[in-house]
C-alpha cells in the first residue's frame, strides 16, 4: 500500500500529517520526496544508517572522436549541448538525462557520465524507516532525485510519500503510482484555490484521494462546501490550536504529546485503506 501526502499550497501541514500518521501505525516506510526542502527528519530525529551521493547521468564527451557535426545539440530538447565552431559546451544543469545524444552521435563520441545532484539518506526511528533525498543547493532539477528516492520503496511495508508543494513535475513524480493520495489543505481562499488545482491533477492521473482540513476553524467554510459538492471525502480535521503550532515549531510531532490523535491517525490509515480497496 502506497499513500502519498500532497497539497498545492505550501505549508498546509503535509509533513506534519505524514509523520504523525507514520508514528501512529506499524510497519512503516516514510519517504520524504520534498528533496528541495526535506523536513520529515526534523520531526522524526532518525538514526541515519546510510548516506550516499546521488548522481544523474549526463553526457561525457570524448573530443578526439567528435567531428562537431552538431547532431547531438540539434537533438537535445533541453538546450543542454551547444556546438560552436570547433567547440562543444555541455550544461549538465539543463540535462534531463534522456541519453538521446549518446544514441544519435554517429562517431560514438559521447558516453554516459555522472553528475552529482544531491544526497540520498536512509535511517530509522525504532522500526520506522525514513528515506529522503537532499537536493544540492543550486541544482535545478528535483525529479531525478525524487525518482531515486522512490526506487527504495519497500512494497512489503506501509509506504507513505511526503510530496513537495505545487502541482508540477516534482509533485507528479512523487504521487505517480500511489494507491491513494491524502490532500492536506487549510480552510482559506488560498487553500481552496490550490486544492482545486491539485484535485484536477489527481483526477487526470486517476489516483483516488481524500482531504484533510488542517487549521480547521480559521478562514471560512468554502473548502467544506467544495468537498461536499464534489463528493470528496474529508478524512480528518485538525483544529487550529496554538499548542499544535508550538509543538511543530519545536520539531515535535503533536500526536506524541496529544495522544488522542494517535487513534485518529490509525483510523485515518484504516479509512484510507478501505477507500483505496487495499
Amino acid at each position: 500500500m502506497i499513500i502519498s501526502v500532497a497539497s498545492g499550497k505550501g505549508g498546509t501541514g503535509k509533513t506534519s500529517v505524514a509523520v504523525n500518521m507514520a508514528i501512529s501505525i506499524e510497519k512503516v516506510q516514510l519517504l520524504d520526496c520534498d528533496v528541495e526542502e526535506p523536513n520529515a527528519h526534523l520531526l522524526l530525529h532518525p538514526k541515519i544508517i546510510n548516506e550516499e551521493p546521488a548522481y544523474m547521468l549526463v553526457p561525457n564527451l570524448n573530443e578526439r572522436s567528435c567531428n562537431y557535426c552538431g547532431k547531438c545539440a540539434n537533438f537535445c530538447q533541453y538546450n543542454a549541448i551547444f556546438v560552436i565552431h570547433e567547440k562543444i559546451l555541455i550544461f549538465p544543469e539543463l540535462c534531463h538525462g534522456c541519453g538521446g545524444c549518446i544514441l544519435i552521435c554517429p562517431k560514438k563520441a559521447i558516453k554516459e557520465g555522472k553528475h552529482k545532484i544531491g544526497m540520498l539518506k536512509r535511517g530509522y526511528k525504532g522500526d520506522l524507516e525514513l528515506v529522503y533525498g537532499e537536493l544540492e543547493v543550486g541544482k535545478p532539477m528535483a525529479t531525478p532525485l525524487i525518482r531515486q528516492v522512490k526506487r527504495l520503496i519497500d512494497k512489503n511495508k506501509n509506504v507513505i510519500l511526503d510530496a513537495p508543494p505545487g502541482t508540477s513535475c516534482p509533485m507528479i513524480e512523487t504521487v505517480k503510482g500511489s494507491d491513494f493520495c491524502i490532500l492536506v489543505t487549510e480552510p482559506t481562499p488560498f487553500g481552496l484555490h490550490d486544492l482545486k488545482i491539485t484535485v484536477q491533477v489527481l483526477e487526470d492521473m486517476k489516483i483516488p484521494f481524500g482531504v484533510i482540513v488542517n487549521r480547521a476553524g480559521i478562514g471560512d467554510k468554502k473548502v467544506y462546501d467544495y468537498c461536499n459538492n464534489k463528493g470528496i471525502p474529508i478524512l480528518l480535521e485538525i483544529p487550529y490550536e496554538r499548542r499544535i503550532a508550538e509543538l511543530y515549531s519545536k520539531g515535535v510531532p503533536f500526536s506524541l504529546e496529544m495522544t488522542e490523535y494517535k487513534e485518529k491517525f490509525q483510523k485515518l490509515f484504516n479509512d484510507v485503506k478501505r477507500l483505496a480497496n487495499k
Binding site: 541544482k139 535545478p140 508543494p165 502541482t167 482559506t188
Partner: protein
C-alpha cells in the same frame, strides 16, 4: 530598474500576503506572481487581464498506432518509463526528449508541442501585475517563470515603472532559480519553526550561490520567540540584515477571506504597522542604492 524577490524555501510562510501588502504600499509597481503552479496573488490584488499569451513549454511523444510494429525499442530506451505496455504515451511521465522518435524503426513516433499554460498581463490598482497559470500537472514551470519575468520587464520599461516585485514559489529548484535570476535582492520570509529555520539556511545558500543580497523577515515570530531569537542572532553572526518581525494575527486570514490585503483590511493592526516599517526599510535600501545593481 530594480527587482526584489520574496522567497522562503518552506511553503506557507506568508510570501503572498507580504507581496500583496507591499504592492499597495509601493503605489506604482509591476508585481510578478512567479508561483505559476499554485498562484494565489490574484485573489488579493484582483487583476484585470489586458493580455494573454499561450505558453508552449514542452513536447509530448505521440505514437501512431497504425504504423507501430510493437517492437518494444521505445519502451526499452525511454528513461522515464513513459511508454505503456500497450504502446501509449503516459503524458505524466513523458519529458518530451525525443529518444523514442530516433529509436523507432518505422517512424511511428513524433513529438508534438503542447500548450502547457498561459501567461497574463493585467492592470491592478497599484500598477500592473504579470502572472501565469501552468496547466495542472504540466512540467517546465521554470520556463514559464522566465516568460513571466520577461513580461514584467517589458511592462516596466513601457510604463516607466522602476520597481518589479516578485512573489516567488517555495523550494530551491528550477522555478525558484528562474525567479531569482537577475534580481537585486531576495527578501526571505521565515517562520520560527525548526523546519522554517532549516529551509532558511538552504535558500540563503541559494542566494549566495547566485550572488544575490539577502534580507530577512520573521513572520508569526511570537509562535516561538525562542526560535525567533535564534534566527535573529544567526542573522547577526552572518551579517544579514533583518527587515523586521511580524506578529501572528488572525486578521491576516480574515483579510484573505475578504479578498483584501492586510493594509487595506486593517491598516491600524500591528501586522500592517510592521509591514509598513519593513517596506520603508526596503525602499530606503533601494533609494540609497545600497543594493548592488
Amino acid at each position: 530598474m530594480k527587482q526584489i524577490a520574496v522567497l522562503s524555501g518552506k511553503g506557507g510562510t506568508g510570501k503572498t500576503t507580504l507581496t500583496a501588502a507591499f504592492s499597495v504600499l509601493a503605489k506604482r509597481i509591476v508585481v510578478a506572481d512567479c508561483d505559476v503552479d499554485a498562484p494565489d496573488l490574484h485573489m488579493l490584488l484582483h487583476p484585470e487581464i489586458i493580455g494573454k499569451l499561450e505558453f508552449k513549454g514542452s513536447k509530448l511523444a505521440v505514437i501512431d498506432g497504425e504504423k507501430c510494429v510493437k517492437c518494444n525499442l521505445c519502451r526499452e530506451k525511454c528513461r522515464f518509463d513513459a511508454i505503456t505496455k500497450s504502446f501509449n504515451v503516459d503524458q505524466f511521465s513523458c519529458e518530451g526528449c525525443g529518444v523514442c522518435t530516433i529509436v523507432c524503426p518505422v517512424n511511428a513516433v513524433t513529438l508534438k508541442e503542447r500548450v502547457s499554460g498561459f501567461a497574463f498581463i493585467s492592470k491592478i490598482r497599484y500598477g500592473f501585475m504579470v502572472h501565469a497559470m501552468l496547466n495542472p500537472g504540466e512540467a517546465n514551470s521554470g520556463k514559464l517563470v522566465t516568460l513571466v519575468k520577461k513580461n514584467a520587464k517589458a511592462v516596466a520599461e513601457k510604463e516607466n515603472i522602476n520597481l518589479i516585485l516578485i512573489d516567488g514559489p517555495p523550494g530551491i529548484g528550477c522555478p525558484v532559480i528562474a525567479s531569482v535570476a537577475g534580481v537585486n535582492a531576495g527578501l526571505i520570509v521565515v517562520e520560527p519553526t525548526i523546519s522554517g529555520m532549516h529551509d532558511l539556511k538552504r535558500i540563503l545558500q541559494l542566494l549566495e550561490h547566485f550572488n544575490i543580497q539577502p534580507l530577512i523577515c520573521v513572520n508569526m515570530y511570537d509562535v516561538n520567540e525562542g526560535n525567533t531569537e535564534k534566527i535573529l542572532s544567526f542573522c547577526k553572526d552572518k551579517g544579514i540584515e533583518v527587515a523586521g518581525k511580524i506578529p501572528f494575527n488572525p486578521k491576516v486570514t480574515e483579510a484573505m477571506v475578504k479578498g483584501k490585503t492586510i493594509i487595506e483590511y486593517s491598516p491600524k493592526s500591528d501586522v500592517a504597522n510592521e509591514i509598513m516599517h519593513i517596506w520603508e526599510k526596503i525602499s530606503a535600501m533601494l533609494e540609497y542604492k545600497k543594493l548592488n545593481g
